[in-house]
Amino acid sequence: MKTSSSGLKGMICTSAITVLFAACVAFAAPVGLPPVPVPADNPITPEKVKLGDKLFHDTRFSTTGEVSCATCHDKAKGFADGLPVSEGINKLKGTRNAPTIINAAYLHTQFWDGREPSLESQSAQPFLNPVEMGLKDHEPILKIVRSDPEYSNLFDNAFGKTGNQITMTEVKQALGTFERTLISGNSPFDQYYFKGDKTAMSPAAVRGLEVYVGQGRCVSCHRIEQTQALFTDNRFHMIGVSANQMPKDLDELSAAVQNVKEKGTDIAVLSNPQTSSLGRFAVTEDLTDIGAFKTPTLRNIELTAPYMHDGSHKTLEEVVTFYNNGGRLDEADPVPELLSGGIRPLNLTEAQQADLVAFLKALTSPEFAQK
């Protein structure tokens, strides 16, 4: 990871300043990103990062011994997997597209429906989902990390704990810490916008930025701020994706809600496309949230096709067409009934749409740019 001295400017570590200071130096925010928020009870240390890295890539935490976190969050694929929906053990398919975990540290909630509040709490769920890593409980993980000599060392260094002192709390903290270091900014856009390098983006991308903040209205949710750009508002919107899978009537909605209550959100939404289509509603039961999904970041978006929560859009061009038609790939399709009020036809010309795509491709960080 590249670090930038300018990223240190104005950096505030809210707690445990002396411990964190070293961490902040090591993981200083790159151009265009704020300092990484770090929970007070889980400061970043190099030892924890090293441990988390190993846990993240360990396939032994799945029933088949073939799937790790990195299976679906593959560094070579922008920490996503390039599939419409992810495949876990025995090629079992879920219902949702693996989001990149680059910059996930900045998100206020985790998962497409925001059902977990932190990287730590998120990290424990895929182990147990039948279509992901398939474990019945976390015991097999603890058995391995408590007995494997390499892990013993790593946990001892990171937490000062060995044997039965090691619990899922430490596993989750190490995974969260590793993910918190996957921070990436400094894209051509960042150089152009925050550093004033007018040559950093192509003329098409510069025109695309105009569309992005203007007629395209992208910036309303994928936010760019004065000194930083997370490209998300951390909110949930029903933009029309998979609208045709949504419960059509009360019976179907009740059945989907019942499914969530019986199986728990994590298992229910990944095993049934209709339940998945509830989006944020499965968490809040608020009607505004029916079919609403979290605004994802757009950083490194070029690397993480296909797009949307169900991977239903193959290319960025398709995504732009979808928004231009007001939440439909095909203009002849009906407008989804519960569409967010923010989604409306944009009347962009072909040229504007092409410029917008050029701009989106200027959001790739240099360390991930295809050589």
């Binding site: 009360l250 909605l253 059945a255 809600v257 009607l287 519960l338 009020g341 923010g342």
Partner: protein, 357 residues
Amino acid sequence: MSMNRRAFLKTTGAGLMASAFPISLVKLAFGGQDPSRDFTFGYISDAHIQQVKGTQFVRNWDMGLIRAVREANLLTPRPDFFMFGGDLAQLGKKEELDHGLEIMSSLRGKVRYVIGEHDYYLDLGKYWQEKISPLYYSFDHKGVHFVVLNSILTYHKWTYETWSSPMDRMLAMARLDNPQGSPFMVGDQQIAWLKKDLAKINQDTPVVVFSHSPIQKIFKPWNFWTQDAEKVQALLKPFEKATVIYGHVHQIQYNQIGNITFHAVMATAWPWPYPETYSQSASCLPKITVPMNRADPFFERDATGWQFVDMQSGKTAMHYQLPDNRNRTIAFDAATGKPQDVTYQDYSRRIPPQTHY
């Protein structure tokens, strides 16, 4: 629906269905004195369907009504009936009324209509009466007497002798703060009908009046006003429980005048700001608890919505369904003898208005 699910629904029964359903839509029990008379009805209002040209209509207003209908279809248990509170159209055109009716046609359940000035002033209610509803009428349901008024009439001279075309008249009435505007009224003919209609009703029978304009005087320049409101109020005075539910104002309002409880309903189209106090006559409206300003113009449904109404032994609880905002409930409070916001009435719970810079 698959056979499995059908079987499932049959065997699980109503109790589980209720628990499986979002709490926001489950009828709240207020402990009415006579449960056999307790029921719920839905209320959608002020859709302002507006034709751009040909088959093109203003998307935003369409989407508001479509959302309300779609959400109302999820209401469980099903309401006994629905009301539409007026201003289905923006400029009273057949095309607008037809398009609005088409959207309303997917609403599951009986719908009754109240006419608004935007539906009326083009053809003076001709198409409305042919296609939709009488202009004023009454009906009874589970021991409650309901009256629908056409409260948006005005002076004969203004209506018939002022304008060069029906559309001029429509546009004049559609304009706010119009110096050439004219106040709404129920009119003596209809008041005479109302007097007769109510004469048949026992005074212990709960009476609910549906009107488009408030049957109380709030703000004249926007016609949040009915010129002869006092005459209607006088006819309601003998009843133990009287309620007026009105549209037009596109915001939550509630008030108590003597025995009469007043509630406004939300619009599906757009919100109005709460008007400044108008000093022509003293307003006894309580202070608004949650100003319905729109925090972010991006969320075009914010500060719009629809509602369902619980009738509990003749008293009303309004459940406002507010997309992109917090749902609210205004219920009659027996202790204070007034309608109150069940969450935000207490001063410490109120949401301060935003400051716009």
